[in-house]
Each structure stands twice: as C-alpha cells, then as structure tokens.
Symmetry: C2
Subunit: 209 residues, 2 copies
C-alpha cells in the first residue's frame, strides 16, 4: 500500500470540476495541466478515455522529470503520484467531446434528450519513486448511464444561452442547471462530473508499488 | 400550466442542501421552515416521506394564511407555491432518519457499507390561488438505490469524526467526503442530496391548477 504522507499528488488536469472533486475527497494536491496534443488511436469510448488519460499523466510526469535534476536531490522516500483523466459522452457508438460552438452544442443536446447515453471517464495513476526511479501505472475507466427527460426546443435554447455547455463533453454539466433534465443515472455520479471519485479512492488505497 | 412569474415560491425546509438545489435549478424562492411536530402514520418509506412532506407544506401554508388578512389585499392573480420535502434512508425495510449521536451514526453507516440501500425523498407541492382561495395539491416521491464500497472500521470512525453525518438521514452526505465510498447509484442523484430536482421541475412544469 502506498504511503500518502510521503507522496506528492499532481492532478494533470486544468478542469475546475476535477479539482473540486479532489478537494471534496480530502486530497492535497497540485495542478499541472498537460500540454500534449492528444492522439486518439482507439475507437471504443472506454479505450479512448483510457489512452487520453495515460497521455496526459505521462506528459506531466515527463515535464516534471525534465525540469528537475534528480542527481542533485535527496528525496527521502518521496514519491510522485500523477493523476490524468479524460471524459467523453457516447450515444449509439458516437463519441462526443466538447462542443465547438452554439450550434454544435444544440445538436449534441438535441441528440441525447429524452434518451439514455453513456458517460465515460478514463483515469491513469502514475506513481514515480524518486529513490528507485521506477514508474508504476494503473489505468481504468468507469461508465455511467445517464437518462434525460425530453427537452423542448426552448429548453435547449435557454440552456445553451447560459454558456454552461461550452467546456463540457456532450455540451452539458450535470452539476448545474441541466440537473432538472436528468431523470436518472446508473453508475458513479462524479464520473459524469469528470472524475470517478470512489473508484479513484479505491484504486489509490489498493495501489501496490 | 402555472404562470411562474405570478407565483411566489416558498421552500418549506431549512435544509441548506435543498436551498442550494433550488438555486441550482434557477428558481427564485423564499424559505419558511415548518414548525409542525411531524406525525408518522405510515410504515412504507415512500408513504412516510410523502406524508411528512405534505405535513410540512400544509403547515407553512397555514402559517402564511394566518399571518395575512386576505380581505384587505389585492393580489392580481398572484399564487403561492409551497414546496415541502422529506428524506429517509431505508435498508431491508428499516427506516433511518438523522442519527441521534456518534454511536448511532456509526451503527447506521456500518449497517449500509458494502451493500445497496434506498433513499426516498417525498415532495408536496401546494398551489394556493389568492383570488379564488383554492388549494391544489401534488404529492410524489422518488427512490434512488445507493451502493457503497465496503468500509473499514477506521474509515467509518474517520468519517463520523468530520461531523458531516449528524444532520443527514442515514448518517451520511453523498455530496461531501463520503462520495469516495459511493460505488454507484441508480436513480436521481439529487434525490439522495434531499430533493429530486428533475422530477420537481417536471411536476411544476405540468402542474394543472
């Protein structure tokens, strides 16, 4: 089991929602957003979010290792834990990322209203041990089914006018005003917000170095 | 359909979480908490929360009507909408309300960890028309299944030491640190927080006076 007191946690994401969730769980961490150009080679949504979460976490670890001279440092068993995450919405096999513009947001919401879609979040945890200079990886993903009430044209138009939709996969944020259209979910709620907090906690707890 | 612009909304609850959810949905409202001593005559959890939500909403309406002299007022079609709500946790037919003390909170959480339990929230909407002096009622409830990861003795002890448990049915708040133990839910997330926001929105939208 990993000793969290000797581990510095880095969240490799600039999403304010992921940061809020990490705080909610009680973790102390710093944020270093990845600068990588994401490359998707997979087609299934669970594999897409897993590979993107890995790219983000790996990129941030490499940035950190480049910026410090390991030979000059005494780390006293200090480890680094990098957490990368990526979220997409999926409907009938079509993957939706963040909408490009208002029309695109309208199309996305119109295509998922009144029905059930899936939200996938992939997470990669990398542990880097400064003493042994070894890396350990764990990648996983969670899927949550989200069922929406039917929405009228004016409800969709009103929602996209709030600008709540633009930086979110699928064009909606479940934690905002959009909640009034969410009939039920099946799975982890926070996975829809952007980070499967319970699974992450369990994986960190059980992480074998 | 009810004209919300001519309706004053009163939330008959002093729960800060219900108030937050009403704001999240975009409603403008005032809070008047009921002062009634709640009387449970039902045994099934869905009927218990429905009857308590009705008692709370009815109590607040009566307080308001007693405090104003209707014969002196010109209301111009103004209506009043009172929203009452009550939440319980249920496990194998046992209903859990708010824990009395630390031991009680420990017992509750210990009895639901590692398993699935139900959260019921009952809601009553009363519309009072000042012109016709007529009341319309709508009472409903929603059930959400909540599945928890197994929790160790020290995890339960740590959680109840945060005091997050005391004013919440079942001894936990899903929107706080406890989220790391919530494996999955099936139903409306906000119903577990204390108000089934999506169902409430739909019921208000479809309310026939």
């Amino acid at each position: 089991m990993i000793n969290l007191e000797k581990t510095k946690i880095i969240l490799a994401s600039q999403s304010p929602r992921r940061s809020e969730l990490m705080k909610q769980a009680g973790y102390e961490f710093e944020i270093i957003a990845s600068t990588i150009e994401e490359k998707i080679t997979q087609t299934k949504p669970n594999l897409v979010v897993e590979e993107l979460s890995l790219q983000k976490a790996d990129n941030v670890l490499n940035m950190i290792l480049k910026s410090i001279d390991l030979s000059l440092m005494a780390f006293d068993d200090l480890s680094l834990m990098i957490i990368g995450a990526d979220t997409v919405v999926s409907k009938n096999g079509n993957i939706m990322v963040k909408p490009k513009d208002r029309e695109n947001a309208y199309e996305m919401i119109h295509s998922i209203q009144g029905q059930t879609h899936q939200v996938y979040t992939g997470v990669t945890i990398i542990i880097y041990d400064f003493n042994t200079r070894e890396k350990s990886y764990k990648t996983f993903s969670e899927c949550t089914n989200v069922t929406l009430y039917p929405m009228t044209h004016s409800e969709i138009t009103h929602y996209i006018s709030t600008s709540d939709c633009y930086d979110k996969a699928g064009g909606y944020g479940i934690q905002g005003e959009f909640a009034v259209y969410v009939k039920e979910i099946n799975g982890d709620y926070n996975n829809v917000v952007g980070l499967p907090l319970a699974r992450l906690y369990q994986e960190i707890k059980n992480f074998k170095e």
